[in-house]
């Protein structure tokens, strides 16, 4: 016998689809099938069922081999590492729930950690831009129900956010958008001819690293001022035309991704894109939204926002919170040898950080909390496997438009496995004991 769980939330990307159906065995131990998800999302669910999954913490031995240890030993190691360090880095926090993020925040507060999340290599630059200029935005439902001008800048949802276009942006028929995609004009700005670009009415193939100039040119065009003949490799006629297309819509939305957040100019590209959106509101209605990656990177920024006032790169070392990307960001800290221990949860810096930073993790006392074996667990001293959030435990996650959705538990974790929140709760209790708080 099997049972179908409906309205399941996908813990993969920031699109946070919440209409999945998952077939589980009657004893709720096995996950059998996944419907409605994209290929990546379905894989995420099915991967949790791998028979060779690590289910107990392990410690690296001198000869490089792993030795299984108990959760109690892992908790002790983690608490000691964090309390012994002068300035530990607690990094990740994007593939977990807000409940765990809140407990982790309190640990960070007590041990004087630097808390950083995956925005640091992704949309952290967008957050800097928002701090400088703001952000006119909206929920994805506003896009579905109203938007008739869709601009994808430096992002490729066809691969990175596979259901974004069908659920929210290009194809859905909403309240004021009954014609679906035929009522929308789609512009893609990308140096590459991507699959998303192939769906566009207009593809502006911007010269690599010249997004800032092209965005500025759009603003010049809105105002009817003169442009040079070419900007960023695009002839000025096409820029004036794109500007007019955007202005003539009823509701324009700009989605942007790592093609602009991590290329030359970083936060400035986003700042200028937001300025474009501000300008458009002089003529029509316009909004802009980052295509957030991890399914709950947005949530960690929210939790730290209400607890500390900053969305990432939060330095708690002196007992109060400070923030300055370039100084308090994980890669800068590792590069400059500013931290003396590394704790990773809900992210894989081993795969995403520069090799020089990964080497620094390897050189330090380090713990990785992750359901999977990853490049990060390979360089850490202790690996603590945990239950999959959104599969084996529920909890709150924030979509790319900051909408909070409570993820669901659909199957039981393997017997005796802890969740992120449980593990952190135990570490918190131990840290309090050690520090006499």
């Amino acid at each position: 016998m099997t049972r179908t769980v409906t309205d399941v939330i996908c813990p993969f990307c920031g699109t946070l689809c919440d209409d999945l159906e998952v077939v589980v065995s009657d004893d709720e131990k096995d996950l059998l099938e996944v419907y409605n998800a994209c290929a990546i999302g379905a894989e995420k669910f099915l991967h949790s069922q791998a028979k060779d999954r690590i289910t107990r913490p392990r410690m690296r031995q001198e000869d490089g081999s792993w030795k299984e240890i108990s959760y109690d030993e892992a908790i002790e190691y983690t608490a000691r590492m964090l309390t012994d360090a002068k300035k530990p880095l607690m990094y990740g926090w994007s593939s977990t729930n807000c409940e765990a993020q809140a407990v982790g925040s309190e640990i960070g507060e007590i041990v004087g950690a630097i808390m950083d999340n995956t925005a640091t290599v992704c949309h952290g630059t967008s957050l800097i831009a928002v701090q400088d200029i703001g952000i006119p935005s909206c929920t994805l439902g506003e896009v579905k129900n109203r938007a008739d001008r869709i601009l994808f800048w430096g992002c490729n949802p066809a691969h990175a956010h596979p259901r974004h276009m069908s659920r929210y942006s290009i194809f859905p028929r909403g309240f004021f958008t009954g014609k679906g995609h035929t009522g929308r004009k789609v512009i893609v700005v990308d140096p590459r001819p991507t699959d998303t670009a192939s769906l566009a009415d207009v593809h502006l193939q911007v010269e690599q690293g010249r997004d800032y100039e092209l965005l500025d040119a759009l603003r010049v065009a809105f105002k009817g001022e003169k442009l040079p003949d070419f900007v960023a490799g695009i002839p000025k006629e096409k820029i004036y035309e794109a500007a007019e297309t955007l202005k003539s819509g009823r509701f324009a939305i700009i989605f942007f991704g790592m093609g602009v957040t991590q290329s030359l100019g970083k936060n400035h590209n986003i700042d200028e894109a937001i300025a474009v959106t501000r300008d458009l509101n002089e003529y029509t209605k316009a909004a802009i939204m980052p295509m957030r990656g991890h399914y709950n990177v947005t949530g960690s920024g929210q939790v730290w926002g209400w607890l500390f006032g900053f969305p990432y790169a939060v330095d708690l070392s002196r007992g109060f919170a400070r923030y300055n990307p370039g100084e308090t960001t994980a890669n800068d800290l590792l590069r400059r040898d500013e931290v003396d221990a590394v704790f990773v949860l809900g992210s894989d810096p081993g795969a995403h950080f520069p090799f020089s930073s990964v080497k620094k993790i390897y050189d330090r006392p380090s713990v990785a909390i992750d359901p999977h074996e990853t490049p990060t667990t390979e360089v850490c001293k202790v690996h603590v496997p945990v239950a999959f959030v959104g599969v084996e435990v529920g909890g709150c996650a924030y979509r790319m438009d900051n909408v909070p959705i409570e993820t669901r538990k659909v199957v039981e974790p393997p017997e005796g496995m802890m969740t992120d929140e449980e593990f952190l709760g135990r570490v918190l209790a131990r840290v309090k004991e050690i520090k006499g708080v």
């Binding site: 041990v111 010249r210 010049v220 105002k223 100019g265 002196r318």
Partner: protein, 268 residues
């Protein structure tokens, strides 16, 4: 003017946060009291004297106090932060935040400085006789009130994000600069004696930039107006005047928009 000399004797294993190395914190204190001022390594609090030999007593006020810091300061942050008067001379490379939020007095660094020197500077003088890192004379994150006044002089090169949200004062760079100069600026003057890369004056509202060398890529929002002769602070020559950022908002005077000005030298 009394002089206090600090000589670094122990390097921190991480970085030293030394926001107390200012004439304001030293004023009225004797050498042993100065050695007892707090510094931090991560969450650990230490004495300044744990890391520095301290000799000499401070003057009664910041204005009467000069601090000379000797040695390799490349792991020391916040030298001269928030100082209101007096003088600091750092003989060596210094880390981040030299002269950040300074309001008066003078800092001279005989070496390089890392990022965020002169952040949110209000007044005073900051002289860097080496190279400067990124965000020299820029605003703190989110603040629309960047450099308000005072003067920053760099003998060598400066990094990216120079003078972000600058509202007043002057920055002179003897060498080259990296990308993004005077972003969002609404005032002030920046002189670049060497070459610039791209994104000069992006989103700039008001203020002036002078470039004596080359510019790799001009912002599309800057339009050439005319050639002008300029004689100013030892700079003399013929410059091409550009105005911008045309995409940005600009206030008007007598019906005419006031643009930011970018001058590029084209002849002696």
């Amino acid at each position: 003017m009394e002089t206090v000399t600090l000589t670094i004797k122990n390097q921190p294993d991480l970085y030293l946060e030394a926001d107390n190395i200012t004439p304001d914190a030293f004023a009225g204190k004797k050498a042993d009291e100065i050695a007892n001022l707090h510094v931090y390594v991560g969450r650990e609090q230490h004495r300044l004297g744990d890391f520095f030999e301290v000799s000499g007593n401070a003057g009664a006020t910041p204005e009467e106090t000069k601090i000379v810091v000797n040695g390799d300061l490349s792991r020391v942050k916040y030298i001269g932060m928030k100082m209101t008067g007096g003088e600091v001379v750092a003989n060596g490379n210094a880390d981040m935040y030299v002269g950040a939020w300074m309001q008066g007095g003078k800092i001279t660094v005989n070496g390089n400085v890392d990022a965020f020197a002169g952040t949110g500077m209000k007044d005073g003088e900051l002289v860097i006789n080496g190279n400067a890192g990124n965000y020299l004379g820029a605003a703190y994150r989110g603040d629309w009130r960047g450099m308000q006044g005072g003067k920053i002089t760099v003998k060598g090169n400066a990094g990216s994000d120079l003078g972000t949200f600058m509202n007043g004062g002057e920055i002179i760079v003897g060498g080259d600069v990296d990308v993004h100069v005077a972003t969002h600026a609404e005032g002030g003057k920046i002189v670049i004696k060497g070459n610039a890369k791209s994104r000069l004056g992006g989103q700039m509202v008001e203020g002036e930039i002078y470039v004596l060398g080359n510019i790799d890529v001009m912002m599309p929002g800057f339009a050439y107006r005319e050639d002008v002769d300029i004689e100013m602070d030892g700079i003399k020559g013929r410059f091409a005047l550009y105005e911008g950022d045309l995409g940005e908002r600009h206030r008007k005077r007598k019906g005419q928009p006031i643009y930011a000005k970018l001058y590029q030298q084209i002849g002696a």
